[in-house]
Amino acid sequence: MPDFIALVTIALLFPLSLLYVSACDRLKISRPKGNLP
């Protein structure tokens, strides 16, 4: 059982990281272009 917890944790952490990559990338696409004042 503890192996199950550790492996599921590992298995969840990396897909979440990939979602985070996607979110950071999309943030740029969704922003209107323009310089800071």
Binding site: P2, D3, A6, V21, S22, L36
Partner: protein
């Protein structure tokens, strides 16, 4: 403080500054795939590796592809390490017949070494087999350092390139960093360490008969007579070299670089110190060369050196002070005693080299220790804690220090732009909203993880507080240090915390994971965004990033951001402990 101590500290930094240029120039050649004298041997190895793994070395990657490749590599090596730990009792090179590592500890350790943290909640010599130490842990010392190097080079390319969408090839950077930089230096360094007495063998542990048997009373009140001592052995030198060079820090033995088999002499200590800063210092020269502004690299190196000096001065001064509670004892330095606070320090290193080591190991994300930070005076212990909380950008970890510093550079030029009322520029590239958003994400995730987990640990007596061996402000410092060390991927500890519990193994594991990857991704996003930008011609209004003014601004931004974020927590920990110590209270 003594003249001898300051001479050694001065010699150390002088050598680092002298070595920065040749090291940086060599790394530039390696990552720009120019000719080096190791090519005849290593190019065939490199080609063979690409052929076996099906990698096209000419393929360029966008920042997202680079990040995904890094995550896939880290996930695969993490699972491999977890499996080795859990199965070590079935595997060879286990002469002590050590049992499988417990699942929560195996998870913590696998994350720890994958993220270049090397936090160790266990006693290595009684927990890990030789195979686990070599194949599971020492290999990660190479891989995680090579990943850091690759990421720093990707960030530099982001600054140097113009109107491009790509940052290079992760697999090529990883391979070249390992083959050309980490492996050759580690091999030579390991041989030098063995000349100083660092051991390298596969012998079973030695049982030595005590000349004077010791009578020991256990915590249960039972008295036993000890007649033998077990002396741990193992392949130490090969792990020690990359432990320091790769700013990993995980010791073969529990006492780490305070153990005489890991760090036997003052010379081995000095070389270990040099190896921690060697690559991070060189990377500033690589930065200057690759972006076409060598002076910018020197300006960044100057900021790092200023912050390093402030840390080592305070730490050395604090540790050289007499203990105020022992005012009736002679504590002055003399020919027969070190003076100051020698608790938790090795006599062969003394106060100067212990303070220097503590400062250097936490400036970088190394985490190796040659003295026990938990035994430092409150202000002496404040220095390593603060170094970690500043983000370990003072030279910093291999690669991680430079890209962390460059995020601060982005913030510094942004603030400079705000002050003069124009769009900030960095080496001809406009710093826009997205860059600042990602930089702020990078900077905010760090304290959020540290303070969030520390707050939860403090609020839960059964989980967080029960592991403490000291209470009051020192106990808070221990918890703060643990989460700072984990999130900053440092790995050193205020060792009064008994962290091998389910709560600490998992929560510190999460802190290490998020502290590594959740910060790398916004950093790569900035690099990817910068790579696509045009170069704007320099004008009279451009803020130069090559001058002493820039160095002062950068240093100030780092100190102010660090101070504003962590000062309240520090004031309840080491600062309060210092004040209470002078009022006669200890913890």
């Amino acid at each position: 403080m003594s003249l001898n101590g300051w001479l050694q500290i001065t010699l150390f930094i002088a050598l680092i500054l002298l070595l920065a240029k040749p090291m940086g120039s060599y790394m530039t050649r390696v990552f720009e795939r120019r000719h080096t004298w190791l090519d005849p041997v290593l190019v065939p190895c490199e080609r063979l590796l690409y052929k076996l793994t099906g990698i096209d070395p000419e393929e360029e990657m966008r920042w997202t592809q680079y990040a995904i490749a890094m995550l896939v590599f880290s996930a695969a090596t993490l699972v491999l390490t977890y499996a080795i730990e859990r199965l070590q009792h079935f595997l060879p090179l286990n002469p002590q017949h050590l049992a499988a590592v417990a699942p929560d500890l195996a998870f913590n350790t696998a994350v720890s070494f994958t993220t270049n943290t090397n936090w160790q909640s266990y006693t290595p010599e009684s927990t890990m087999s030789y195979l686990t130490q070599m194949l599971g842990l020492a290999t990660h010392n190479f891989w995680s350092a090579a990943v850091g190097l690759a990421l720093a080079i990707a960030f530099i390319r982001g600054i140097a390139r113009r109107e491009m969408k790509t940052l290079g090839n992760f697999w090529v950077d990883l391979t070249r960093g390992t083959l050309w930089i980490l492996l050759p230096i580690s091999i030579v360094f390991a041989v030098v360490l063995t000349s100083q007495g660092v051991i390298q063998n596969f012998h079973p542990y030695t049982a030595a008969k005590l000349v004077q048997p010791q009578t020991v009373t256990g915590s249960d009140g039972k008295t036993t007579t000890v007649t033998t001592q077990t002396i741990a052995q193992g392949p130490v030198a090969s792990q020690e070299a990359i432990k320091m060079l790769g700013t990993n820090g995980g010791g073969f033995f529990n006492a780490n670089s305070a153990h005489p088999f890991e760090n036997p002499t003052p010379l081995s200590n000095f070389l270990q110190l040099l190896s921690i800063f060697l690559i991070p210092a060189g990377l500033t020269v690589t930065l200057g060369t690759m972006v076409g502004s060598p002076k910018h690299g020197w300006a960044v190196l100057a900021a790092m050196t200023i912050l390093w000096f402030c840390g080592v001065f305070v730490c050395y001064w604090a540790e050289a002070q007499p203990n105020p509670l022992m005012h009736n004892v002679d504590q002055h330095a003399s020919l027969t005693q070190s003076g100051g606070n020698m608790e938790g320090k090795e006599v062969r290193f003394g106060i100067a080299n212990s303070a220097l080591f503590a400062t250097v190991t936490t400036d970088a994300s190394c985490g190796a220790v040659n003295s026990m930070h938990d035994s430092f005076t409150p202000l002496g212990g404040l220095v390593p804690l603060t170094n970690i909380m500043l983000g370990e950008i003072v030279f910093g970890g291999v690669g991680a220090g430079l890209y962390g510093m460059l995020v601060f550079v982005v913030i510094a030029v942004f603030i400079a732009g705000l002050m003069v009322g124009r769009t900030p520029e960095y080496l001809g590239k406009k710093i826009e909203a997205y860059d600042v958003q990602m930089a702020m994400l990078y900077l905010l995730i760090f304290p959020l993880i540290i303070l969030g987990f520390a707050a939860v640990a403090v609020l839960m007596p059964n989980l967080g507080l029960s592991a403490l061996t000291n209470h009051g402000p020192h106990g808070l410092s221990e918890i703060l240090y643990a989460y700072s060390s984990a999130t900053g991927n440092n790995g050193s500890a205020f060792a009064g915390l008994s962290a091998n519990t389910h709560w600490y193994n998992y929560s510190l594991g999460f802190a290490m994971f998020f502290g590594r990857f959740m910060m790398i991704i916004p950093m790569l996003a900035i690099a990817g965004n910068l790579a696509g930008k045009k170069i704007v011609p320099e004008t009279a209004g451009t803020f130069p990033v090559t001058t002493p003014l820039f160095t002062v601004l950068l240093t100030s931004v780092i100190v102010i951001v660090g101070a504003l974020t962590f000062f309240p927590a520090l004031s309840l920990g080491p600062i309060l402990e210092h004040l209470l110590l002078h009022a006669g209270h200890t913890f």
